[in-house]
Symmetry: C2
Subunit: 388 residues, 2 copies
Amino acid sequence: MAIVSDGARRAGESIRVVSEFADQFLAADADGADFTFGNPHERPLAGLVAAIKAAAEPNGNDWFAYKSSVGSATAAVAASLGAEMGLPVAADDITMTQGAFKAIALAFDLLLNPGDEVIHPKPGWFAYAPILAHRGYVGVHTPLDPVSYDLDIDAIARAITPRTRIVVVNSPHNPTGRIYSRARLEELAGVLDAASERIGARIFILSDEPYRRIRFDGAAFTSPAAVYPWTLIDYSYGKILLSPGQRIGYLALGPLMPEADRNALTAAIFPVQTALGWGFPDATMQYAVPELETLSIDIPALTAKRDRLLGALKQWGYRMVDPEGTFYLWGDAPGGDSLAFARRLAERKVFVMPGTLFHCPRQYRLCLTATTEMIEQALPAFREAAPA
Amino acid sequence: MAIVSDGARRAGESIRVVSEFADQFLAADADGADFTFGNPHERPLAGLVAAIKAAAEPNGNDWFAYKSSVGSATAAVAASLGAEMGLPVAADDITMTQGAFKAIALAFDLLLNPGDEVIHPKPGWFAYAPILAHRGYVGVHTPLDPVSYDLDIDAIARAITPRTRIVVVNSPHNPTGRIYSRARLEELAGVLDAASERIGARIFILSDEPYRRIRFDGAAFTSPAAVYPWTLIDYSYGKILLSPGQRIGYLALGPLMPEADRNALTAAIFPVQTALGWGFPDATMQYAVPELETLSIDIPALTAKRDRLLGALKQWGYRMVDPEGTFYLWGDAPGGDSLAFARRLAERKVFVMPGTLFHCPRQYRLCLTATTEMIEQALPAFREAAPA
């Protein structure tokens, strides 16, 4: 009899392709050019270091006592999120979490029973799957538009069944960098309203927004929460501060949500945070939130890296998406086999992420957190591997 | 149709008594004597503050990159845990977690399918229940000896069914302060070995040891992992450092576990940590672990508080357990109604935890993290409320 649980086995299967990639490619030489995960390759923000140190200095006997959501953190979030959305957000609608990862698990566990279905985008983040698979929730990969990578509203409509409870919208989108327009989101809202009515159960949007503040060229951003009342927002400080090793983020109830639904979710959040093995972040990181809200990686520098790498690739015939946000580039692997492409580049110590991790084996992702030096180092290898 | 999931509802029901207690009693005046949760009431350890600040100082570009278990942390844990157990512990058998809470959730999710049963002690910690209830695992409250609060091996043997997969052993025990002897643990091991054989599935021990280093009068401690190979150990730094707001602890595979089982669990840990919404602690807290291993609250001071409060209570006729470890006192509520007792004391601004939170409505718990001043302040109220 197997010792590990069925859920553990399913979770493992759902991320096998990620583990195999890590094992195969990420013996990455220290002198390689690393375009894989969204990790820092330069010194952390000085402001982040200062904020953590300041937050470690006790200001009361209960400084390191058990903390659920700290009031100064939820107040700061409510103010900034409300300003960004142009709608009033209440601090009580914010739950601080150990990163967006935990906020996503929290949202799923709040709303889903085993067998319930979650529509999530293909290509899309690879870690929705293990959370879903572990609990016996059903992930339904639903393709984005194959050319524009915009939301394919018809594909989402077709994927809805009586068991659908959540549609994940990730904008700005990992890995394509697309930002969805308000008009498109309104179209989606209309479909979800009608479908909820039809199936007799409310379909929620989980708006996965960790890249919300990483946008290029003044691109506008609309949260689905501003157009569809039954929206939960997850956010992480790990992207804008390039510090995913410090687990701080939140889940927010959409400001337009009807009172009864808001109250039902609010009452369930503490028990589910507890059931997740205490999903609230470290006290220090919560105290730091007002300061973290003022910090950002260097977006103009990121834009310059995007322009340099994207410009070179397109000039050499690579078919790439023009990203409006995130720190990723997404495009077609020359020859149509992203694993072969990744292997070829790895021989030149250039490490990219094959689309197999996103259920899109013909595409690949590049992460722009690589340094300018890494980009210059990698360009000859990209040029050599360019489409014929 | 209800919006929140069945699991969320079950988790909420399982801790309703805790939430109601918090709502009812913990409008606690700032000048009250607080003997409720295991929270600090004095300034944090200076060494802890210094360790966090030092760990926030970057030593590499990847300082705040995604971290699973950090090698320097698991090495420090393996060395100290091995020394305490007198058995070699491998760093690879340690997974760093966001506190013991997350380690417990991880252990359950590694081993349990919905419907599987976990035997856990009554009285006992109230947060096993919401984790179990949320996933549809079945908690089986099994009484300790009603007089000595020792493990009742016969009661455990009787509680075992074909669905039993885990027996939780919590020593030193919250709330009674009992530490179980090696002989008693060997008896339990024998029962579990025979039962595993009989039901055709391996029953594991989860050794919940966050109070392992908080012991009085030189009391010895034996981990179940030293006598039963199929043991997982969870540990938290939140007790010994009195800093539960900083989420750092670990899950360790018992050093005697057979290789095949060890490998099966090891392979499953990363996927389940991922499915928990990333259960690994903040980078800073992991870097601090070697330093945290050298720190402790003042055990002689804690012992003095135990002696003062326990001595007074016993002198006035209270029937109390003599704790060998933890920072709790446990005893019979005068009149046999712990809620009435807690209410009566609360009127005097003395806050205790009624046994209703531990499924033992006739007993109550006192937490010795209260200050000496709080103890002195509370003694007249305890004297007044003493058994007739």
